[in-house]
Amino acid sequence: MADGRGEVTMGEDGIVRIVNPPGQRLGVAEINYMMAEQRRLGEGRKVPVLIDGRGVVSMSKEARQIGASPEYAGLTSRMAIVVGGPVSAMIGTFFFRVARPSFPVRLFSDFESALAWLRSPGEGTPGAT
């Protein structure tokens, strides 16, 4: 974890993992930090991203716009968001339904399914769980 902004790592499988702490409010600073770390770890290439969104309690409009921006899309091949309750599910749904990022996004309730989807080749049309 870095200054309450979430922990960003990359596994040997090439998947970037972002873990948000409980009570996380995602604003511009937090999303920019995530994007910078993802760029560093992926060396500027498009990589799959697994987000632990269970601790997220809000996501600002500006943060949603950055998350769906062409700049972020240039770093992300697909994104799996693991949600843990109605609030994080609501935020996740809003993110991919309303902000509409151009890369495939799916919401999951468990990490195994999320990882399996990220690792599966060829799949990736945007859609809900």
Partner: protein, 563 residues
């Protein structure tokens, strides 16, 4: 108290969003995850609504700007149904230009906007454009509220909301008029240069003829030989040469190379003074009215030349009227503003005196009007006119810094308007012009510089017979070389344009060296070397070629006496 903890936060937030409150937000109460999710979701929804509202406001403002720009555009804008070629909408500029309210134009066939002869070509062009294969678009004429408008056409095709042509017509009426004026001015300038050059060469020839006639006549008078020519023959030759000289003089006037001697003159007074002379030119059946203002209108111009303009215009009016009709000569003050100047080529805004000569005669067609100022263009029968009358007027008025306009309608009559810039109010001191008598010279010495050998020889003989001692030179350098061996002469008579060293430089050098008391320039034209735009400076003596013996001797005396 609400049944579900936190539901009141949800309801309150919903109410605020529904009432359109900008920035409606709430924090999740934290008592029930579902309620919290609802609050978070509603908050995000409110943010999206706010954003959408801002976008819509910005889009509406942009649309307003576009509507305003459309309405106020100087272009004549119109949308046309691609299938029916009827007007779907148009801007106010177009509506004003054609004198019909924009709302009334909607639904009308677009072809109706054009003058009759252009309706078919306009439809052809627009149909081709609607079909996606636009042809070259000719300039067309819209039927304007105050006359036809010449327009260029540009368009784009759109299929939303229905197939339409967006058309932009640009009014180029004024542009084309000014282009026409410019072309006309360029043509007149070219013709002026040509006729000026021809006149110059002819003047040398005529000068030789006239000088020869003078000598032959003198020789015959002294019992010498004039060949088989009698006095009547010499008279005929002289008269023919003088007619030739009149012609070259008119050509020079047209080409603005005539030497003008402008004075401050009161235009109304001048018109009144020449009234009697003008009336003598006009038969009784033609009524002549002269309207001159009480206030004085001073201009700076050569009175002889302005009189010439009046005579030429009145004679033209007389010939147009034929036997019965009216001629009106008016003098007035007019102020020409920027708007007027922008519509007329080479017109400077300012205060002008206007002399207009109008008649109710036969008038002129547009074709005749377009050529009216060209030298030798005439509609008169052979022998009735040289075709130089209006050309001379044009040259004189332009030389005086004014401009001349012609309005005419076949069968209605013609009005010629001459605008001369008003002079300053305070009268400038006028140099007195005294006519010097041809006094017998007291063996004064003349340096005669002329590159035309025959003319030099004849001029020298005229001067020698009048008692002068003449030393001749073919050009300026030869003259300086000759003067380096002489103390001085009384007067230098020199051509202006000569090879090697021109007259002006020669005279300046001789005056600097104290080698002459006086100078007289003789030339077929001024070439601006001794005169600025054909206007002589005070104290400069000039004799136009061709000249008679008497004119030469008078000019020499004037130059010597005016030192």
């Amino acid at each position: 108290m609400s049944a579900t903890p936190g539901i009141d936060v949800v309801l309150d937030l919903l109410t605020r969003i529904a009432s359109g409150e900008e920035g409606a937000r709430a924090d999740p109460p934290g008592q029930d995850p579902v309620i919290d999710a609802l609050v978070v979701g509603l908050t995000m929804l409110a943010e999206e609504l706010d954003d959408e509202r801002r976008r819509r406001t910005a889009a509406e403002a942009l649309l307003d700007d576009e509507r305003d720009a459309y309405a106020r555009s100087p272009g004549l804008l119109c949308s046309i149904d691609a299938a029916t070629l009827s007007i779907v909408k148009c801007n106010d500029t177009l509506a004003r230009a054609v004198g019909v309210a924009a709302a009334e134009l909607v639904g009308r066939p677009v072809a109706g906007l054009f003058r009759e002869s252009d309706q078919e070509p306009a439809q052809r062009v627009l149909r081709a454009a609607a079909a996606g294969s636009p042809n070259a678009i000719p300039e067309l004429h819209l039927r304007g509220a105050t006359g036809d408008l010449r327009v260029t056409t540009a368009f784009s095709r759109t299929d939303a909301p229905s197939p339409r042509l967006r058309v932009v017509w640009t009014d180029v009426t004024q542009e084309r008029v000014l282009e026409g004026h410019l072309l006309q001015a360029q043509k007149m300038q070219a013709v002026g240069r040509l006729s000026g050059g021809v006149a110059h060469d002819f003047n040398n020839i005529l000068a030789i003829i006239l000088a020869s006639v003078s000598l032959l006549r003198e020789s015959a008078g002294q019992g010498g030989a004039a060949g088989s020519l009698g006095d009547a023959d010499l008279g005929d030759i002289e008269q023919a040469a003088r007619r030739g000289a009149d012609l070259t003089g008119q050509l020079l006037a047209f080409s603005r190379q005539h030497v003008a001697q402008p004075k401050r003159l009161e235009l109304g007074g001048l018109v009144r003074d020449v009234d009697r002379m003008l009336r003598r030119l006009i038969p009784e059946g033609i009524a002549v009215s002269i309207v001159v203002p009480d206030a004085s209108l001073f201009v700076t111009a050569d009175p002889t030349q302005i009189t010439q303009v009046l005579i030429n215009l009145v004679v033209n009016a007389r010939d147009a009227v034929s036997e019965r009709g009216r001629i009106l000569i008016e003098v007035d003050r007019v102020d020409l503003d920027e708007a007027y100047a922008s519509k007329h080529f080479d017109v400077v805004p300012g205060h002008y005196a206007l002399v207009s000569v109008s008649d109710d005669g036969s008038g002129m067609s547009a074709d005749v009007l377009a050529q009216a100022f060209e030298p030798f263009f005439t509609t008169k029968s052979p022998g009735e006119g040289t075709g130089l009358g209006l050309s001379v007027c044009y040259g004189i008025v332009r030389q005086a810094g004014g401009h001349i306009l012609l309005y005419s309608e076949p069968g209605q009559g013609t009005a010629v308007k001459v605008y001369l810039p008003l002079a300053e109010q305070d009268p400038a001191p006028q140099p007195s012009v005294a006519k010097a008598p041809v006094a017998a010279p007291a063996r004064e010495v003349v340096l005669l510089v002329e590159d035309e050998a025959a003319l030099r020889k004849l001029t020298a003989r005229l001067l020698e017979r009048a008692g002068y001692e003449v030393v001749g030179a073919a050009n300026g350098l030869e003259a300086l070389e000759l003067m380096s061996r002489r103390a001085s002469v009384d007067i230098v008579i020199t051509d202006v344009v000569m090879p090697k060293l021109g007259g002006r430089a020669l005279v300046d050098q001789l005056f600097r060296d104290g080698k002459t008391r006086a100078a007289l320039y003789v030339s077929g034209y001024t070439a601006n070397s001794i005169a600025h735009h054909g206007v002589l400076a005070e104290g400069v003596h000039f004799l136009a070629k061709p000249f008679t013996a008497d004119q030469l001797l008078r000019a020499v005396r004037a130059a010597l006496g005016g030192e």
